[in-house]
Symmetry: C2
Subunit: 584 residues, 2 copies
């Protein structure tokens, strides 16, 4: 190699050695006849030094021309540093340079290549290859690499085989929008990019692969909300001859393994909660359990006392923000504004403070007697200095709003520390959800999810009440993975397509190969998929997945660095036998 | 799990244990009151037994209804087998069944699920999920999994980081045809699927990632010749601050590691040969070196003796098929027909046998004296019983034809054993090749390949003579990988685009981001990519890559199992603002 060592490895024990380093100029200082250059590569930073009247004049002259980000090669002797730098691993030594070579000069970068940069999002996206030089971004991708390696190591150890499934597949109307690819060899026909390898992994079970996994790119042509990407990566898994319990244990094991090997954290066994309980206690199927503040339902306590808002409400429900009675009027007004925001959706906020003497002071004192308010406080098991926050209205909407308020309070009270990890399995999801718009049931997970055997009777009488053998893994309020036991019986699968509004012909046209496969000996099977980008950002303690993706797209689905998508040549369109027809 | 053991793990030491197995019925025999069922899963086959008057009558009755490929669960006791079966690992034992459950019945498969099947290609492609049950196909994919795991393990150990590069990128006119993806959010614009992550891996070097790899899907919309797939997988690698020597050593190390860990074979150091020598000695840049039979050039020996075919030829060149003088007239006629096939392209074949007494008998005896023929034999260093095969004509065409003949002879003489592995590095490829059709130079490797520094002067005077720092790894005549040291200087890269016929504007529009990146401190770098499907099939001793791909497409680019590509809904076309316009 052009170097003898990296910029991260020299120590005191190397003093006296002649070494050659290569890398980028982080910065240089020229002071009192001494010139210092910080040389950076992926592995660290090492200080180079040259001295007027001592170093080779040619090297010194050249060194004085170095700008930030120049790529250089320097040879010299490792010496002990006079003033140590304990912030970097090589801080005990420096290189007394004898010869210097510029391998490539550099224009001044459009933003600082430092941990804290002055570049805005757009600029850093355009020059992503420079942003990737910054150590926090590089470390995020190194973390991702380690997570992928450890995932493969664990699953391989458990007998899983990684199988690559195709990227050019068939478009299906179910679920999100597909990206499609016109076929030149089959004019007028299109491939689709997979939203997940769902049907292929089930076919692999029919094939007897027994334990399959894949770390795989998936694609969804959805309007991009913040922090969604049109292409994303899943850890996709499927097993045969298993019960739900086997799957929970295997993948709880995977995530424990990742925390142990990547972060040095031993996780306790994951608590479990039904979907029904999660909705009742947290108003969310992915509760952040780093803090308590569980919902307390208050219909029994507060109704029929003359406060019309509560009396008319389907549900009155609140949380106890313990120790927050000191919140000022201004802070409480902010919270009221918060819950009234359209995306939260409450109509107002009722609060009650438990005073030092145990008495309760509330925003609805005129409707409730001190005794009523004591009952309210008791319902929350409230203590002096607690702050009770109460919402009322339609049950679903109010739970959803209180979930938002609970998370907001958790954030304000500093109870959502990124270095604390709280895990949860959410179980027994409903099989179906009713969609008002299309006036039919949709599959809550996907159309291949198995109803619970004990709920099978309800399929004809009350489909909305049927629970599925479906489960989500939740960490810190983030759904990191989810899956289900699948249907492996053709008749049940046909019934399911029927419930979802497919005609027999449509089901056969779209999923005939899977229905056929079920007739040739399909084993009982189930699986799970993890959002790998999200899991990495959780491990990295970041809110955004962007820095865990080397070349992300912006919110319009554009890669602004390479300027894609872009128009293509007419000859390409002609070969594909398609026309662009822009709407007026 | 539904089972206590797999069908591959029970041995004599398990005798007496109560076990539960699950799997597929391979076959059953009902004879003299005994019923035997071979139960199969990914891990092996175990024999179940039931006995009239001894086993539970219900289990026996059910067992008699079992057809091939039924999925069952059987519980019973492990007993020692009376007649051992040493062909299977569990052949010492069988399971005396107490209870039996049918988990899923199966229709009769359309072909035999056996190592040797009666199903034709088309049928097996349509029912690929059944074909994958056959043990040779399953083993091919297990091999692929181990190769991927070992590749990652080796490269991780060498300090490489796996980085995922995007699948939705920008279309470029250079090279093969792109698959394109219309963008709904950017109407009239298209993404392209990557033919390789070439520019992204170079940008990662500019970013300082130092050592990158990825096992990654790539896409080419080419007319599919036999054994080409529209989507294929590469082991893609790039390193900074390296010389060609570093790259050769690192990846020779990778392939040695794979042979050692996956096949238990220790490979010797790889020989090296220049492109010029490979063409001269084998007429191919990927010679099969499992056997010798190097070309012998004969212009000095055979010209000007009155044989017009040789006298007029640019090149007369032959091979010595040692020990093949016994080839019959019929065999030699077959060889003559072989070399005259259009895809081989010779006009005729001259042969000469060295007889037991050392005399030479040839098909051109009337033009050459016995002494001339002795000279010819000496040029080949021929011995009694050798067969000399000689072609003549234009140099390139004749070398190409003789390469085909050499391979044919190697096959006929049994010198191309699939379990013998002969490795080779081919070095010093030409930078450019002249394309008659477009009347301009094309990049032989790709436009980012660096000219050899010592040939840089020739770029302006004789571009066709410039050699590149480019290399291919060849095993058994298969190019398994190839790469180059890249250009890292903007001026050289611009000159290269210029030579390839790009205007400055075109180069900037297509590769501006890369040219820009080169101005911000690009390190010297280089890399390599391996065709992973091909490498796996080589390891598996197969000619075709199909069985090393779980769900391959046919020669029309169709997945006949899922029936893709297919037409899509008008609503999808409308959203994408494109029309299908089929040619009349």
């Amino acid at each position: 190699m052009l170097r003898s060592h990296t910029c991260g490895e020299l120590r005191l024990e190397n003093v006296g050695q002649e070494v050659t380093l290569t890398g980028w100029v982080q910065k240089s200082r020229d002071k009192g006849g001494m010139l210092w250059v910080d040389l950076r590569d992926r592995y660290g930073i090492t200080q180079l030094s040259l001295e007027e009247g001592v170093s080779d004049p040619q090297a010194l002259t050249l060194a004085r021309t170095l700008g930030r980000e120049f790529v250089i090669k320097a040879t010299g002797t490792v010496i002990e540093r006079v003033s140590k730098n304990d912030k970097i691993a090589t801080g005990d030594i420096e290189i007394k340079v004898t010869t210097l070579e510029i391998l490539n000069p550099a224009k001044l970068p459009p933003f600082l290549i430092e941990d804290e940069t002055d570049g805005g999002d757009d600029l850093r996206m355009k020059y992503r290859y420079l942003d990737l030089r910054r150590s926090p971004v590089r470390k995020s991708l190194e973390l991702r690499h380690r997570m992928a390696q450890q995932t493969r190591s664990y699953l391989d150890g458990q007998g899983f085989i990684e199988v690559e499934t195709p990227v050019l597949i068939k478009s299906t109307p179910e679920g999100a929008r597909d990206f499609v690819v016109p076929s030149r060899m089959n004019p007028g026909e299109f491939y689709a990019l997979p939203q997940s390898p769902q049907t292929f992994k089930q076919l692999l079970m029919v094939s007897g692969f027994d334990k399959y996994f894949q770390i795989v790119k998936c694609f969804r042509d959805e309007d991009l909300r913040a922090d969604r990407q049109p292409e994303f990566t899943q850890i996709d898994c499927e097993l045969s001859f298993v019960t739900q319990e086997d799957i929970l244990n295997t993948f709880e094991g995977l995530v424990k393994h990742l925390f142990r090997t990547v972060k040095g954290i031993e996780l306790a066994d994951f608590p479990r909660m039904t979907y029904a309980d999660a909705m009742r206690l947290y108003g969310s199927d992915k509760p952040d359990t780093r803090f308590g503040m569980q919902f307390v339902e208050l219909n029994e306590v507060v109704k029929n006392k003359g406060f019309k808002v509560f009396d008319d409400a389907e549900l009155v429900v609140g949380i106890n923000a313990s120790g927050s009675a000191h919140f000022t009027r201004k802070q409480l007004d902010e919270l009221t504004d918060f819950v009234k925001r359209p995306q939260v959706g409450a109509t107002g906020l009722v609060y009650a403070r438990v005073q030092e003497d145990g008495s309760v002071k509330s925003s609805v004192d005129k409707f409730y007697s001190p005794e009523d308010l004591q009952q309210l406080a008791q319902a929350f098991n409230a203590q002096p200095s607690d702050l009770l926050l109460v919402l009322a209205g339609g049950a679903d909407r109010t739970r959803k709003a209180l979930n938002e308020l609970r998370l907001e309070m958790g954030t304000r009270l500093g109870m959502r520390d990124k270095d604390t990890f709280s895990t949860l399995w959410v179980l027994d999801f409903p099989l179906l959800e009713w969609d008002e718009e299309s006036n039919r049931y949709h599959a809550m997970h996907h159309p291949f999810t198995s109803p619970k055997p004990e709920d099978m009777d309800l399929i004809d009488t009350n489909p909305g009440a049927v629970r599925a053998n479906a489960y989500d893994m939740v960490i810190n309020g983030v759904e990191v993975g989810g899956g289900s036991i699948r249907i492996h019986d053709r008749a049940v699968q046909s019934r399911m397509f029927d419930l979802l509004g497919f005609t027999t012909e449509e089901a056969q046209a779209q999923f005939g190969f899977l229905l056929d496969a079920f007739e040739y000996g399909a084993p009982p099977h189930g699986g799970i998929a993890f959002g790998f980008d999200r899991l990495c950002s959780l491990f990295g303690g970041a809110d955004s997945i962007r820095d865990f993706i080397a070349f992300p797209k912006n919110n319009s689905g554009r890669d602004v660095m390479i300027d894609a998508p872009s128009s293509i040549a007419q000859a390409q369109l002609d070969e594909l036998q398609i026309d662009v027809r822009l709407k007026k």
